[in-house]
């Protein structure tokens, strides 16, 4: 994925502190030296290309509700099927295959702890696979908005 200098600068400048004012994209466009319409088109295009998942707030999970990292060990030949079942479960927002006996790792969120546990119980029952439930005890670094090392990218 090759991005031009303006797209890179857009990402460098606005992973945090997006302006809260009537016309935020207009304010961003002045920083970037391009037009407001251009900023909006670029953001649309970056979302379509899956470079951005969205423009917007990241909620602090401990204040927004309940959230939990869980893992299951799916049989290798059924991993896509199990992953699809997990994706369909309510509240699942991340789901990755990882190289381990526990090969599917996902994050589930809910409005409160009880709802979350009920949903996990139901999913565990549906999958018929034992589930590792790993709530966060302490976060030392939980913000994934690091500076992109453009030179290192392919």
């Amino acid at each position: 994925m090759i991005l031009d200098a303006t797209d890179r600068q857009l990402i460098n400048l606005y992973q945090r502190e997006l302006p809260v004012c009537e016309r935020p994209y207009e304010e961003m466009s002045r920083q970037l030296g391009i037009g407001e319409e251009d900023v909006i088109e670029r953001l649309q295009s970056l979302q379509e290309q899956q470079v951005l998942s969205r423009v917007g707030p990241v909620f602090e999970h401990s204040k927004a509700g309940a959230s939990l990292l869980a893992a299951v060990a799916a049989p290798d030949d059924q991993i896509d099927l199990v992953a699809a079942q997990i994706n369909c479960a309510p509240g699942v927002n991340h789901n990755y295959a990882r190289e381990h006996t526990y090969n599917l790792w996902f994050v589930m969120t809910a409005a409160d702890e009880d709802t979350l546990q009920e949903r996990l119980d139901e999913l565990e029952h549906q999958l018929a696979l034992p589930m590792l439930r790993l709530p966060m005890i302490e976060g030392y670094h939980i913000d994934l908005s690091f500076d992109i090392d453009w030179e290192a990218l392919p």
């Binding site: 992973q15 809260v20 423009v55 917007g56 707030p57 526990y102 409005a111 908005s145």
Partner: protein, 178 residues
């Protein structure tokens, strides 16, 4: 107006007393999908949830101050950009050292996430997690080797779980029905 029943967990929803609680709940739901890409996104949100543009902006600012919103900005999909080698490194650290080590690893520039989670014995002996987002596996493994060296982790049991596929990546849904 009758306020919807809420748990104590959502108390901060109502700190802006003058604003409709229902409107704020709907605003949170809308925000989980991100800001609209319209010239006046806060006005667009306001129209969708029955608040004014000013109310939407002040609610968002307040949520930022309170820490409910930890950042407002572009959420990057690192894998698309070329960060194809994402390793979750998990360690079995003595409980009395987990905090100190967690803070130390969190300060390493290439460690992108770091947290403590419970062990689940016998299957899962690891209690400290850190993530390294890298472009190549070789580079990530080099970084891990330097981490082990710098923090004297040679004797600490660990496992490296590279992600091989992303099935789903989107924002957390706390309010939305999903």
């Amino acid at each position: 107006m009758t306020l919807p029943a809420v748990s104590t967990r959502n108390d901060y929803l109502f700190t802006t007393e003058a604003i409709s609680a229902w409107g704020l709940l709907r605003l949170r739901e809308q925000l989980e999908d991100g800001l609209p890409l319209t010239p006046r996104p806060y006005q667009t949100l306001a129209e969708r949830v029955g608040l004014t543009e000013q109310e939407v902006m002040s609610a968002i600012s307040q949520w930022q101050q309170q820490g409910l919103i930890k950042r407002l900005g572009l959420v990057v999909k690192h894998r698309t950009l070329g960060y194809q080698a994402n390793a979750m490194v998990v360690w079995n650290v003595p409980d009395h050292r987990v905090c100190e080590l967690g803070k130390a690893l969190a300060a390493v520039p290439f460690v992108t996430l770091c947290y403590q989670r419970p062990r689940r014995l016998p299957d899962w002996p690891y209690n400290l997690f850190c993530m390294i987002h890298g472009v190549t596996r070789e580079r990530v493994l080099q970084q891990l080797a330097s981490l082990i060296e710098d923090h004297q982790l040679q004797e600490t049991t660990h496992a490296v779980l590279f992600s091989s596929k992303a099935y789903l990546q989107r924002g957390g849904r706390y309010v939305s029905h999903c």
